[in-house]
């Protein structure tokens, strides 16, 4: 479902991604690990279509369509979702209105009928309960004054209601306490299905205890330097990245 081929990308003229190859099938979960500054978030932004991230070489096929040609909102409509490492605050935009606008925009894109306020509320309630998100949080402005953990749970909520087929989770486990980690882990696991794939960017093994990956990739200096099974994550947590950064350098 996702094929990344020899992807090169620059930010402000500086090359950050230096030839990434990655292929994921339907229903698969892949983890990406790697040192700070290796280009993990850059990859996630390129997949989501952020301005200023210029692809200089290579291609990305998503369900055999050229992903890089699509606008960010079209990618979301097609089922791509990015859980931000640093979720953005939207002062004055209530979480509830934001979610509703997003869900209905995506439904419209997918040729489904838009939900009215009542139906939407019912639909959201099921998910907020599971993620332990209070009504108060839904009334507040998006991410404004949210704690780090609340912001991450809010990302998972958005993911759950938008029903993506490709989710990129950029350090969704960072800043979570043990309970929140379990809630997020369960939330994400609940979304696993034979037609949904996930790309999980993380520094820790612990989220992968909840969402067991099919493959683990190590990204160092803009390239995937090693791929393996779930045991690679365990190994990394014990040994660190030093040999890969040395390799890559």
């Amino acid at each position: 479902m996702l094929k990344i081929k020899n992807l090169h990308a620059t930010v402000d003229g500086k090359e950050i991604l230096k030839g990434i190859d990655l292929a994921m099938g339907f229903g698969e979960v892949h983890a990406i690990m790697g040192p700070n500054g290796s280009g993990k978030s850059t990859l996630s932004y390129v997949l989501a279509g952020r301005n200023g991230y210029e692809v200089t070489k290579g291609e990305v096929l998503y369900n055999d369509k050229n992903l890089l040609e699509m606008k960010p909102e079209e990618r979301a409509g097609e089922g791509v979702f990015l859980a931000f490492q640093y979720p953005v605050e939207l002062p004055g935009v209530s979480s509830m209105n934001f979610l509703k606008a997003a869900v209905n925009a995506v439904r419209k894109y997918r040729g489904e009928n838009e939900l009215d306020a009542m139906d939407f509320l019912k639909f959201v309630r099921e998910t907020t309960k599971m993620l332990n998100i209070t009504d108060d949080m839904l009334k507040r402005a998006v991410n404004v004054g949210f704690s780090g953990g609340e912001k991450k749970r809010n990302e998972v909520l958005q993911m759950a209601v938008l029903k993506p087929t490709l989710s990129v989770l950029d350090e969704t486990d960072s800043g979570l306490d043990v309970d929140a980690l379990r809630i997020v882990g369960e939330g994400v696991t609940a979304l696993r299905s034979p037609h949904r794939s996930m790309l999980v960017i993380t520094h820790y093994q612990r989220l992968l205890d909840h969402i067991v990956p099919d493959e683990v990739h190590i990204l160092a200096d803009g390239k995937i330097v090693r791929s393996g099974g779930k045991e690679l994550a365990v190994e990394l947590e014990q040994e660190g990245y030093s040999r890969y950064t040395a390799d890559a350098a």
Binding site: A48, G49, R50, N51, G52, K71, P72, E73, R75, A76, G77, F81, L82, F84, P87, V88, L90, P91, G92, V93, N97, F98, A101, A102, A105, V106, Y109, A141, Q158, L162
Partner: protein
């Protein structure tokens, strides 16, 4: 004396002064003519008019308002129960106004009526807080003083709001008029006044209004205004407010119409415990020029002012915000807050934002801030990454930016009216 421009001279010539008028009124008008004749219409050399040019006034031949006019549909801002005043081209229209049930002892009606029925009160208040010395436009207004609305309340708490509809209606010719209004609240009075300035027939008119407001002795006035004049209208609205002891003047102003608007407000916090809270929302598009100039005088100790003005400019619109807070000597313990933020939605827009503080007192809590910027790229991307199309994402952000001002006010059923104004403007932009 300088030689006046042809337009300035034509405004002077249009004054009709009869020696049989009330002597004090006659002298107010004469002072007005005299003060205006010294300088004429302001140019950019006039410090208070540095960013707003009235040059376009010189291009047209302004006529006096005809005695007879028709009027189209009346657009009220709220459908709830209210007293209703209709003023067409500066003339109070009794046939269209609905004032029945107004409390005994209080007055609501036209300036010309009040000059007869309440001449003593008017003598002691007219021309006292918005004076000919406050600028040429007010001087010009004084020289034409003839009609407008007057509301006089003493020990009265109104249970229904007063809606005032100011219609600028043109029938081919460019017209100029200078309404003078007076609001007086005394001794624990309370009122909500909702003013709507709007145009009919889309022709050129120059409306130069002068409004004097006295909120005295524990009274509270909520005075909300929407300036939505016609596309060729040039509007200068000068408002002078005096807030007395433990009294409060609260005003939310939204502007989205007119070719040029200058909203000039001076508030004198003239006794201890006087407070004012002002909000402003300005939205302007191609060719529009919008100027909000606000001066707050903290004249006495323990007075408080709070202001939030936010605007969005699209097309090639020009915006001006001049906000001055003066804390006078001895006005210790005063508190003045002022924030102005403008969103520039397209490259051709321009804004001049000049907040200013002058403090001559002690133990004063004052702050002012101004920001001008474009929509936040990161916020836009976040919304789009959730499937929300670019145009809608933009709307959401502009709307939330401007709505912050509305959220600061307790507007009741007017909340929707103001919110809808914002979303309608965004949709049309």
């Amino acid at each position: 004396m300088n030689k006046l421009s042809a337009t300035s001279q034509s405004f002077v010539d249009a004054c009709s002064i009869s020696e049989t008028e009330l002597p004090w009124l006659l002298s107010l008008k004469k002072c007005g003519i005299e003060d205006f004749s010294k300088v004429g219409l302001p140019t950019l050399r006039n410090e208070a008019w540095r960013y707003t040019s009235l040059k376009q006034l010189e291009r047209l031949d302004w006529q006096k308002v005809a005695e007879d006019y028709e009027v189209g549909e009346l657009s009220w801002l709220t459908s709830g129960d209210s007293y209703k005043l209709v003023i067409v081209n500066g003339k109070f229209n009794y046939d269209l106004s609905e004032m029945s049930g107004f409390p005994e002892g209080a007055f609501i009606g036209s300036l010309s009526e009040a000059l007869v029925s309440h001449s003593e009160l008017l003598e002691t208040h007219l021309g006292r807080i918005a004076t000919s010395k406050d600028g040429p436009l007010l001087a010009l207004n004084a020289s034409h003083m003839a009609d407008g609305y007057v509301i006089l309340l003493s020990k009265v708490q109104l249970t229904k709001p007063i809606q005032i509809l100011n219609v600028g209606r043109t029938d081919g010719q460019a017209i100029a008029y200078h309404p003078r209004n007076l609001i007086l609240l005394d001794q624990l009075s309370r009122a909500t006044i909702i003013e709507h300035c709007t145009g009919q027939n889309a022709g050129s008119y120059f409306v130069n209004s002068g409004t004097e407001i006295f909120v005295d002795q524990g009274s509270h006035l909520q005075h909300h205004r929407i300036f939505a004049d016609g596309p060729e209208a040039i509007g200068v609205a000068s408002t002078g407010v005096r807030v007395g002891s433990d009294a409060n003047y609260t005003s939310l102003v939204l502007s989205d119409g007119g070719k040029l608007l200058r909203n000039d407000v001076r508030i004198h916090l003239s006794a201890s415990g006087a407070e004012t809270k002002l909000g402003g929302i300005y939205m302007a598009d191609d060719g529009q020029h919008v100027d909000h100039t606000v001066l707050i005088e903290h004249e006495m100790p323990h007075t408080k002012s709070e202001q939030l003005f936010k605007g969005a400019l699209g097309g090639k619109a020009r915006g001006v915000f001049q906000g001055n807070i003066n804390v006078h000597e001895g006005a210790d313990g005063s508190d003045g807050q002022l924030t102005n933020k403008t969103l520039l939605l397209s490259p051709g827009t321009e804004v001049n934002s000049k907040p200013q503080l002058e403090i001559y007192a002690d133990d004063v809590k004052c702050s002012h801030g101004s920001a001008v910027g474009e929509l936040d790229e990161e916020e836009l991307f976040y919304l789009r990454s959730r499937g929300i199309p670019y145009a809608q994402a933009k709307s959401i952000l502009v709307e939330s930016f401007l709505s912050e001002v509305i959220d600061k006010f307790d507007l009741g059923e007017l909340t929707d009216t103001f919110s809808r104004r914002i979303s309608d403007w965004i949709q049309a932009d």
